[in-house]
Symmetry: C2
Subunit: 208 residues, 2 copies
DNA sequence: CTACTATTCAAACGATCGTTTGATTCGTGA
DNA sequence: TCACGAATCAAACGATCGTTTGAATAGTAG
C-alpha cells in the first residue's frame, strides 16, 4: 500500500486535501488536524508552509483561480470583438473554463464547491481578497455583456448578472436537491449542466 | 437602557439571535457562547431549551419554514388550476412569500441567508431534515411547473428548476458581489429583486 | 566528512468548543 | 404560606481548536 498521493510534495498534498475538506465541511468546519491527517503530513506542516489557516485558505483559492481566470480571459479574447459574437459565446467563455477545470485529473471537482462556499460566506477578509485579486475579470465580462445588451440600463444589467452569477455558481457546484441519475457519468452530467446553464442564462439576460 | 428584546422569552431570544449569527458566520462558525451572550441569556439555556446545538439549528429552520411553506402552498392554491395562470404566477407564488417574510419586523431578513447557507452545506443530517419535512412543497411546485411547460422532458424540467432554485436562493440572500446603491432602501431592493427574479426565471424556463 | 539549511516530528501551549452538573431563583397552584 | 416543578445561574467537564516550540531528520554544498 503506497501513500495516497506519493508524487506530490507536502505542500501540494495539503492544498489538495484542504480543497476537498473545505468543500465538504466549510472553512470553519474542517480542522487543520483533519486536513493534515488525511494528507498524511504532520500537523505543524500547515503553519510551516503557509503560516496560518487563513493563508492556507487563500492559497487554495489562488492556486485554482489564477489558472481559471487566465483561461476565462483567454476564451473571452478568443471570440474577439466582432459583432457576430453572441451572448452565448460570452457565457460559454465564462462557464467552460470552470467546467474543464472541474474535470481535470488533479481533483478540481472540489474547487467549484469551495467557490460556492465562498459565495455564501460573508467573511469580509475573504471577500476583499477575492475582490482585490480577481475583480478585474468580472468587470471585463460585465463590459462584454454590456455591449451585447445595449437596451438594458446599467442597473438592470447588474441585476441580471448578479442572478446569473448565483445560478452558475450554484449549478456548477451541484448543490441541487434533485439528484442526477446514477447511469450518467459525472462528466456528461457537467457537460449537460454547462449547456443548460448557457441557454438558461442567455434567455434570462435577454428577457423582455 | 432596556435589554435588547425585552418582550420575548429566553427561548425566542435564542432563536432570533441564532438565526442572525448563523446567517453571518455559518453553523460551525457561530458558537453557542456568542449566541447566548448576544441574546443576554445563560450559556446553559440552549441545551436546556433545545437539547443540543444541532436541535437548535433545526428549530431555527422549523420556525420559519413552517410558515413560509404554508404561505407558498396557499399562494399556489390561490392562483388555482385555471388555464389562464402563467409561469410568472407560479414563480411569484414561490418567491413572494419568501420576500414578504424577509421584510417582516421580527428580523426574517437573516433567515433567507440561513437558507442559502443550508443549500451550500453538504451536511447529510441537515439535508435529510429539510427533505423529510419540506420536500413535499417542492414536489408540489414541480408539478405545477410541469403542467405549464409540457414541451419540456422531465429531465429538462428538473435541470431548469434546479438552476432556478439556485438563482432564487442566492439572489434572495443577496450574496452578490455587486453592491446595491446606498440610496435604495432594503425593501425596495428586495421588491425589485423579486420582480427581476420572476422575469429572469420565466424566460430561462421557457428558453428555446 | 562537515557545516548548514530545509523540513518533519512529537509534544505542548492557551483558547474555545458543546455539554453537563448542582445549586439557586422564579412562578404558580394548593 | 408552603411546596414543587420550571427556569436560570456560575462553574466546570473533557474534547478539540489553531498555533508554537525545540529537538530530530533529510538533503545539499563545500
Amino acid at each position: 500500500m503506497r501513500p495516497l498521493q506519493p508524487n506530490f510534495s507536502t505542500r501540494e498534498r495539503i492544498l489538495g486535501v484542504a480543497e476537498t475538506l473545505f468543500a465538504r465541511h466549510g472553512f470553519a468546519g474542517a480542522s487543520l488536524r483533519q486536513v493534515t491527517a488525511a494528507a498524511n503530513v504532520n500537523l505543524a506542516a500547515v503553519n510551516y508552509h503557509f503560516g496560518s489557516k487563513e493563508s492556507l485558505i487563500e492559497e487554495v483559492f489562488r492556486r485554482r483561480l489564477d489558472e481559471l481566470n487566465r483561461h476565462r480571459l483567454a476564451a473571452l479574447a478568443a471570440i474577439g470583438e466582432n459583432p457576430s459574437r453572441t451572448l452565448e459565446d460570452v457565457l460559454d467563455a465564462f462557464i467552460r473554463p470552470a467546467l474543464e477545470q472541474s474535470m481535470d485529473s488533479t481533483g478540481g471537482t472540489a474547487f467549484v464547491r469551495v467557490l460556492a462556499r465562498a459565495y455564501a460566506e460573508h467573511d469580509e477578509r475573504l471577500r476583499k481578497f477575492l475582490s482585490d485579486n480577481y475583480g478585474h475579470v468580472l468587470r471585463e465580462f460585465a463590459g462584454a455583456f454590456s455591449k451585447l445588451l445595449p437596451s438594458l440600463s446599467k442597473d438592470e444589467l447588474y441585476w441580471r448578472l448578479d442572478i446569473v452569477a448565483g445560478a452558475l455558481t450554484y449549478a456548477m457546484a451541484d448543490f441541487g436537491m434533485i439528484k442526477r441519475k446514477d447511469n450518467v457519468s459525472e462528466q456528461s452530467h457537467r457537460e449537460q449542466s454547462a449547456q443548460h446553464l448557457v441557454r438558461f442564462a442567455a434567455a434570462g439576460l435577454r428577457a423582455e
